[in-house]
């Protein structure tokens, strides 16, 4: 069953001249159609300016299509009556951990979403408890967000989304401002939510190590979907990825280079174990 359906999406924004008048339009998303299955973990890759963040903002009705349609479940994002329903079902986590935490205490921030949709007080407490537990931040519930590390702040932001009981979480480069430790933390948390709570995940990133465990990878370039497949399929095309200004994990690159030199290896090796097993046969 498809949770998200994007059909022939086009998004254009106006470009302004020096005097402030409109001098033309720029196409950030160019005829994109994607269906995302319920419960899946989908990674969207692309360099800065490839349109991946613009796409993400369409899934939460922060941006509305210039042409084409986006459905979250049964709801068309252009339907104003469905707006709050869509935002509750498709939660969003942004890049800068500081700029999305609203309250001065962790637990109160997690409560922000449920408060907005009018959840009764007693249920808010239960949801906050559950969400903090799901992201492993219960011990920090009384702390000020300013005392947390970047990775911890992102987990609080994820808990804030979880407390709205969404079907889907969209993470827009959630690790771009974190150190390797924080990155690992956040990605692990997201995978756990995907497996244990059956939350559909759309992860937008340009770190390749973060996507090797995804169910599906979509690569964007110049507003278009240029690759779409399993990690194995995507990572077997190292040259193509480089053309789109992307990278591959060192192990994949090494395997690819060895293969070029005549070592018989299969395409798209993603882990150290795979490579070692193949070489030691």
């Amino acid at each position: 069953m498809n949770l998200i359906k994007i059909a022939k999406l086009i998004f254009e924004y106006a470009k302004y001249g020096e005097d402030g008048s409109v001098v033309g339009t720029s196409r950030a998303i160019d005829n994109v159609s994607i269906d995302i299955e319920k419960g899946s973990f989908v990674a969207v890759l692309g360099h800065n300016g490839s349109g991946k963040s613009t796409l993400a903002k369409h899934l939460n009705a922060i941006l509305l299509p210039t042409e084409g349609t986006v459905w979250i479940g049964e709801d068309d994002t252009k339907n104003p009556d469905a707006l709050w329903d869509i935002r509750q079902r498709a939660g969003m986590v942004f890049q800068n951990p500081d700029n999305q935490i609203i309250a001065n205490v962790v637990e109160e921030d997690v409560a922000f979403g449920p408060e907005n949709i009018g959840v009764p007080t007693r249920d808010i407490w239960r949801r906050v408890d559950e969400s903090l537990k799901a992201v492993g931040m219960t011990a920090f519930r009384k702390k000020s967000p300013n005392k947390l590390s970047g990775g911890q702040k992102q987990r609080v932001a994820i808990a804030g989304v979880m407390a709205m009981k969404p079907d889907c979480i969209i993470l827009d480069e959630p690790t771009a401002m974190l150190d390797p430790h924080g990155r690992e933390d956040v990605i692990r948390t997201v995978h756990e939510l995907n497996k244990q709570e059956n939350i559909t995940v759309v992860l937008i990133t340009h770190y390749m190590e973060e996507v090797i465990d995804a169910d599906r990878i979509i690569v964007m370039d110049e507003g278009k979907v240029v690759m779409d497949g399993t990690p194995k399929e995507i990572f077997s095309k190292v040259d193509q990825l480089k053309k789109y200004r992307l990278d591959v994990p060192q192990v994949t690159e090494l395997a690819y280079e060895l293969k070029k030199e005549g070592v018989p290896l299969e395409d798209g090796i993603l882990t150290i174990e795979e490579l070692v097993d193949a070489l030691c046969q």
């Binding site: 935002r87 969003m92 609203i102």
Partner: protein
Amino acid sequence: MLRDITIGQYYAVESPIHRLDPRVKLAGTLLYIVSLFVAEGIICYLLAAVFLGLVVRLSKVPLKYMVRGLKSIVFLLLLSVSFNIFLTEGRVIFQVGFLRITVEGLVIAAFMAVRLILLILGSTLMTLTTTPNNLTDGLEKSLGFLNKIHVPVHDMAMMMSIALRFIPILIEETDKIMKAQMARGADFESGNIIKKAKAMVPLLVPLFVSAFRRASDLAMAMEARCYHGGEGRTKMKPLHYNGRDLMVYGILIVYLAVMIGLRIAMPV
């Protein structure tokens, strides 16, 4: 260098005062300020001081910590004291040129100083014992009646709480930008006022740019989490009065009544 701001900071301990409903503390502070203006004569001031002393004791905030907050008003204090000392007519006890000190002046200045100090301590105590969030909640709820005349009380409270969250972040950011510009040879310390003001441009422009970026990010994040104003909003921690709060209201009223009584009974 930018961290010495005690006024408006929460002092985290458990105490009966900390546990009070913020509305009680707001009303109490207001009442206490009124009582200070009603006060006249040494007994009144003594009563006000003892009353505050008891509350401070109950709050478990160390007095030393509170006094530190007074540093920021030393200048104001000196100014008002010297105005009173030098500009009050009366029995002259000391004179240099046109400056003279009178007995009446000294007395008024002393009372003035005590009043100011008590006033500042009293209101600092409120912020020291109430979390900013709690305080905003209290304000929002006690000013709720203004909604009827279309004052956006909820929005103002939300703005206040967000400002409180971002002040430490912006302070840290100021520090960082300052250092970065110093690494490019900027000098924020020497020169006259005009030169110093000019030197602030490389600090203020990036700070504003960043504040605007943060504001627009935050607005988007709030909308993404279904924020649409105060309408239909529930609360995780709604305010409820309990017995203790009502009792404190009683005590406050008795205190103010005694103060007014003293003022009437002992005219100066």
